[in-house]
């Protein structure tokens, strides 16, 4: 099983935990991103995720490498779902193991923030009164430098 992948199937967290389980790990931190119904008073019916699949999997792997550059003993697994997702479905799941707990929390947070910056996946909101592809989810001006950080560069 791959540590970094996109899938059209429902995501279970346990297989990701199993991928990062290590005898020298003292902590496994997980993050599960789910589909929210209400956003600023607007009701989501469902989401549609689309991806540039091959590049997205490469970028997930890059995030894993960035984490390992900071935390040598970390192990990382990330799965992101694509296709139609209903309310409360798991859109993304991350598991990070490290020898001690602080690094696992830090790396898990880093992974989800980085996904929102560099991984070519797009979300289409489907509301009662219409639909829209969402861009720039971090609500920053998109790529002020002309691009997200390249290659293995870190923020």
């Amino acid at each position: 099983m791959k540590n970094f992948y996109l899938t059209k199937e429902k995501i279970e967290i346990q297989p990701l935990i199993d991928l990062v389980t290590d005898r020298n790990a003292g902590a496994i931190c997980t993050f599960i991103g789910t589909v929210r119904e209400m956003t600023k008073g607007k009701k989501t019916l469902y989401l549609e995720y689309q991806a540039y699949i091959e590049m997205a999997e490469k970028k997930l792997q890059q995030i894993g490498e960035e984490i390992k550059a900071d935390h040598l003993d970390a192990d990382v697994a990330i799965a992101h779902r694509i296709g139609r997702l209903d309310i409360s479905d798991v859109a993304v799941a991350i598991a990070v193991s490290t020898p001690h707990r602080a690094a696992s929390f830090e790396a898990c947070r880093y992974a989800i923030e980085r996904i929102k910056e560099i991984v070519p996946i797009w979300k289409q909101e489907n509301w009662e009164d219409g639909q829209q592809w969402v861009g720039d989810q971090k609500e920053q001006i998109a790529y002020p430098s002309g691009k997200p950080e390249l290659g293995g560069d870190k923020k």
Binding site: Q50, I115, E117, Q132
Partner: protein, 82 residues
């Protein structure tokens, strides 16, 4: 030089296809030229094209990168995964 550009999300819907073919008289084409030609072909998407990244062979590329025949080119609008 002919270049196919992969499109996603709103860009693909607007273009009515997940790929758009560009044709250049010039044999040396860079990322900026691709951007400019896309803006010509999809004028109502100009702002989004400006905000988008271009990926060459599945890696983000700056505007000065020169393209080769066979490169896989994609226009990446601001991402919204997670």
């Amino acid at each position: 030089m002919n270049i196919d550009v992969l499109l996603f999300a709103g860009l693909a819907e607007n273009a009515g296809d997940s790929k758009i073919s560009l044709s250049f008289a010039d044999e040396q084409v860079n990322v900026q030229a691709v951007r400019n030609e896309l803006k010509n072909l999809l004028p109502n998407m100009e702002d989004l094209i400006e905000k988008s990244m271009v990926a060459v062979n599945q890696e983000y590329a700056t505007n000065d990168v020169i393209l080769s025949v066979g490169d896989e080119i994609a226009l990446i609008p601001p991402v919204s995964g997670g």
